[in-house]
């Protein structure tokens, strides 16, 4: 299928078999299905292999600092609410370096989608543990094996009453794409944690492992926060799908009264003169 978001001849820096290829496909197909034009789309990322995603499709992009993608994304959406704003970054970026922004962006609730490419390892820096690496995995830095319990992004998000929480598998384009479309259409901050294999540095959590150790939620009430939380705590076999949606939360832009593009704003100079002259 030809997609107007395709970047012809771009040099992709990912390794063969990387889960990022699946994620790129999911992103492009979801955007295509929703007819979102590149000029009205901004992809924001930090640093890491996942953070290179915006370079591989036709879009406006803000590829900023490690861990900080959510902050500029929030600023961009507030300043021009007509744009579709998505953050595509990795587990180290969003859950490690940017953990504080992750927590507070959930609270702030900007109307953006946050895709977290979660391969449970650091790829770009060559194989150290990430916040989601499972206990026991040995790496060149964690030589005795990882001892910290993995970070549970979904449980944290649901505990903070995140307005949209889902998990998908990069290997399942069809179902993942539909979930992403719902996230894009959802009003508020949407977290999508993505199971993604790293064939070079994570020999445990492979394509097959993710397939074997996950299942899709069925007959799950997405409005029930407690049940969603319980599902988020499941680790033996990890649930996939939409865990939780809260449609009642106001977005950051609504709370801030952001309706149109800031670049159209004009300063009311006469009013400013009046205000200045009243400070006596």
């Amino acid at each position: 299928m030809r997609n107007y978001l395709d970047m012809k001849g771009c040099d992709i820096a990912w390794c063969p078999g990387c889960g990022n290829f699946g994620i790129l496909k999911i992103v492009k197909e979801a955007l295509y299905d929703l007819k979102i034009k590149p000029e009205n789309l901004v992809l924001v990322s930090g640093i890491g292999q996942a953070a290179k995603t915006p370079h591989y499709l036709k879009t406006n992009l803000f590829n900023g600092l490690h861990g900080r993608a959510l902050s500029p994304a929030t600023g961009i959406k507030a300043v021009n609410p007509k744009l579709t704003v998505m953050v595509t970054s990795g587990d180290g970026d969003i859950y490690g370096e940017g953990g504080n922004h992750f927590i507070h962006t959930i609270r702030r609730n900007p109307n953006i989608v946050n895709l977290v490419h979660d391969n449970m390892i650091y790829g770009l820096t060559k194989g150290q543990a990430s916040p989601t690496t499972l206990v026991g995995m040995k790496t060149p830095v964690q030589v005795s094996g990882v001892s910290e319990e993995p970070f549970n992004p979904l449980a944290v998000a649901i505990a903070l009453d995140c307005s949209f929480v889902a998990r998908i598998n990069s290997g399942d384009i069809k179902q993942s794409k539909e979930i992403l479309k719902k996230a894009i259409k959802h009003k508020g901050y949407a977290l999508i944690d993505i199971f993604q294999p790293c064939p070079v540095f994570n020999k445990l959590n492979t394509f097959d492992w993710f397939k074997k150790n996950s299942y899709y939620l069925k007959n799950h009430d997405v409005t029930n926060k407690e049940k969603a939380f319980r599902k988020a705590l499941e680790t033996g076999k990890y649930p996939l799908g939409i865990f939780y949606i809260n449609k009642k939360k106001k977005t950051f832009e609504e709370n801030m009264g952001c309706k149109s593009e800031f670049y159209k704003k004009k300063l009311n100079v006469n009013k400013l003169k009046k205000v200045i002259n009243s400070i006596v």
Partner: protein, 548 residues
Amino acid sequence: MRRKFLDDVSIVLAGAAGQGIQTIQHLLTHILKSEGYHVFAMKDVMSRVRGGVNSTEIRICSKRVSAYVDRMDLFLPLSPEAMKRYGHRITNDTLVIDEKKIPMSKIAKEFGSDIYKNIVAVGFILGMFKVEKNVIERFVKEYFKDKPKFIKNNLLAVGKGYHIGKLYSSKITIKIKKDKKIAKELYMDGSEAVALGAIAGGCNFVSSYPMSPSTGVLVNMAKHSKNFDVLVEQVEDEIAAVNMSLGAWYAGARGLVTTSGGGFDLMTEGLSLSGMIETPLVVHIAQRSGPATGLPTRTEQSDLDLALYAGHGEYPRIVLAPGDAEEAFYLTQRAMNLADKYQLPVLILTDQFLVDSFYNLPSLNPTKIKNKQYFVRTDKNYKRYKFTSSGISPRGLPGFGKGLVCVDSDEHYEDGHITEDHSIRNKMVEKRLRKLEPIKNEISPEFFGNSKYKTLVVSWGSTKGVVKEALEKLNKKGMSYLHFKQVWPLPNNTLNYLKKAKKIIVVENNATGQFAKLLRREFGIDSEGVLKYSGLPFSVEELVKKLK
């Protein structure tokens, strides 16, 4: 002996936090300004919410001043601790207004609470100045309008103080020249001047984290936010503040971040990002005594080096340093436009002394400087980092035009996508650095004094008022003064001024002479330093002594 005040009275009020020093300052300065006096007020507060000793120094003058003096003409200690902390500044000429002169506590207790002591003192001082009683009452009513049940007692208390002050006024002479025009002048602190300057410069987005002494700017932006449609968000940390501001500028806002040295430390990676992606950024840094937590509520000019060198890699930046509230307004407005014009970070260096001090100013005109729109509508072939002779590539906004706006913290091609091509790298470095040269013609230093000088006193930022006043007092023919508002890049005509002097004295509120070192680095010129780093601003007296 009968005391006479002909040009200048300095009043120092001191007491515990919570004793209403701010109320006294507000009422005295507003009322005396409305009488036609020049007023200047500066705070000296401890980093605590209750107790300790806070003070405010108010100068009532026939001329416009913006400096601190050691001299205390009237001293009003509201607590025994205040006497201990400021007692060393009492001289034979100081009129100490204590319980012996006026039984403030006793009077206050008549109204059921010690809290009225401060308002009795206000009445006393205004009685000495022979201000009309109805004027005082008007201001008191206005000040307490949101607390109507306290108005009656405050009016009675101020009246009692006033009565005693008026009787006392037979023992002193206050003949400071008044000018009716001053009553109509503006009166604000440095924080509000920075905030209004930002608004005048089109600022419509503020993301910041509170930190003394920069919080005043954040509070003032919030205060004016509804009037001027400014989004003000208190973010989770300084890192979020700077990155959110970059997102906002990228998408078409004009952003302001306000912080102090410690907060700015956290922003430095974001500063580097601004340099790389050529997205404008304006950060106001209200300096305080460092390092680390330092003296959180005290002043210093010790973050110049930080502002000059913060952030990894090489990229151009602008550093501005206003000398008083008026300059704070115009330079902040300029900062918004300069950031947009040159697509780089602009840092505004103020300090606790400047932002917390109150000044009367003739006027502030938001149309004196023209705000310009620099962003462009993009077409299909738009390239964010197009090579140009000026180094400035037209800045598009996402969603404004048919083009794509790609910005990347990696080295990039003209279209914004990642590259590791060394020839492109060279061209991009050179393109970014080319932007610096024309900025040297933007804001010239201000010269005071005779153009034939042997000694040139040099300073930057908030020391302007004290240097000017000290030099006027000294009145030395061969000594002139050069005040820098743009401290980086150093303006083109700087060397002409420096070359003419036999001796250069650089006055700085820091311990290592940072600006002097910058002059040596850039021009190979040596200078003598007059430095102060106690946490307090220079006083006129000590500078007179040091420049003699």
